[in-house]
Symmetry: C2
């Protein structure tokens, strides 16, 4: 399986502290060595870096850590291949233009037999179930709405479409258009919102950061991850079938999820 | 104005020698300082690096030179903004998925009043005339062909569609789907094909390379650029309205162009 990392904030934020802990799992503290990718929204544009080498040792990942790109929305993924070869086109996150915006998506799990129809708007480039599922989501959204609808309409439609896709397997995902971030939990996903009063956090590799040195009292930064990245923060465990919609670092809407947590070790 | 660089080969080739000369024009030897971008095809995937800082001094460009990515098809662009703000979403090259492939496009010139229709398949994300023109090209191709047609059909359709767009201004461009490279000249575009027997080339900043040390006798590497990058090679100057279709480093098809060269200093 793979691991997901997302960040949604109300101020451009450097994700290095979280990304450094996250990418250690791609070869050092865990076995997600089949590539990594990270997308940083910057205005309406996106920088996407992908590598089919392990995140822990990739020179590309080293650059990202040194570059300290600040962003309102970041999605990252480290891959343990289950479907599709290890190559660049199969490396998350995936991206498509929808309604004149960049939409970015990363998935953890496996969904069997999900593909967009042959004449659907968006077609997969690689061979992963994940990209095929993403193409289904954006194709169906586009069929449903000629023009960009309200955020509430988007969230409701995404919940409906992806609940359907999720019946085909395990479907944890994070998705963003640069304005908001939607995450769905099938089996395992946590989030934490950092806001004033900021304090120290201890990463699971025992590196400490004092967020109060880097923040203002108005900052709100939400981190979403497959596993908590720090030891001493109040990470909220999402339930199976649960959805969150974050904007400016704040939880705007939530579907709590009702399924029993019987796959939490997938 | 901007400058274009393209490479199409029959073997994965490191573009560093050409890119280093090219990016010097982005702040050192010329004034194309409003961002740069470069796309490397790798299988069906693409690595795209963009920066709104000058190519000559961008740490991202430094990484690219160090990384020595080998690719069959590369498109790069250094920008002197004429339309659209200097930001990431306005930085070439642009990318869209068409028929399950990555299509990458970069433009030099300005085309006035070209936009895809409101319900066209592809919509621009930024505010450049270039991205709008690219969205027109891929939208019209998609309208015309439900499924990917032959390369001959693609070339003929691209010529027809872009000849129309070119009536709106200056339209030098390079485009690739990872298999072939199409280039159009409005005002200024050159190409050179390197093949056995390979010899030494002298870059315009007097750096010399001996290609025979890095190649085999079967290699074919075509470089397309707004201005020749070397002093001692036989760069072919394209005529206005001319098109070339390269595959595996070889010129497969050509439309020579007939318009008088009356804008060569644009």
């Amino acid at each position: 399986m793979c691991q997901l990392l997302g960040m949604n904030c109300n101020t451009p934020t450097d994700i290095t502290f979280s990304f450094e802990g996250f990418r250690r799992r791609a070869g050092l503290t865990d076995q997600h060595t089949d590539g990594f990718g990270i997308a940083f929204f910057e205005g309406k544009g996106v920088r996407i870096f992908r590598d089919n080498r392990p995140g822990a040792s990739s020179p590309m990942a080293d650059l990202i850590s040194q570059y300290k790109i600040k962003s309102f929305n970041v999605i990252s993924h480290i891959r343990k291949a289950t479907r599709g070869d290890v190559n660049l086109e199969n490396t998350h996150p995936f991206i498509r233009e929808l309604w004149g915006e960049n939409w970015v998506f990363a998935h953890n799990g496996t969904v069997e037999g999900v593909r967009p129809c042959a004449d659907c708007h968006y077609q997969p480039i690689g061979t992963t179930d994940s990209e095929a599922a993403f193409c289904c989501i954006v194709s169906r959204l586009r069929e449903r709405f000629d023009k960009k609808p309200s955020e509430k309409d988007i969230f409701d439609a995404v919940v409906e479409i992806t609940s359907d896709i999720a019946t085909h397997g395990v479907f944890n995902f994070i998705m963003s258009n640069g304005h908001w971030m939607i995450a769905r939990c099938s089996t395992r996903l946590y989030y934490v919102t950092r806001k004033a009063p900021f304090s120290k956090a201890l990463r699971d590799d025992d590196v400490e950061i004092d967020f109060s040195k880097y923040t203002t009292e108005n900052d709100k930064v939400t981190i979403i991850a497959t596993q908590p990245l720090t030891k001493n923060e109040n990470w909220i465990k999402m339930k199976n079938g649960g959805y969150v919609f974050f904007k400016n670092g704040e939880l705007v809407e939530e579907i709590e999820g009702t399924l029993p947590d019987n796959q939490s070790h997938v």
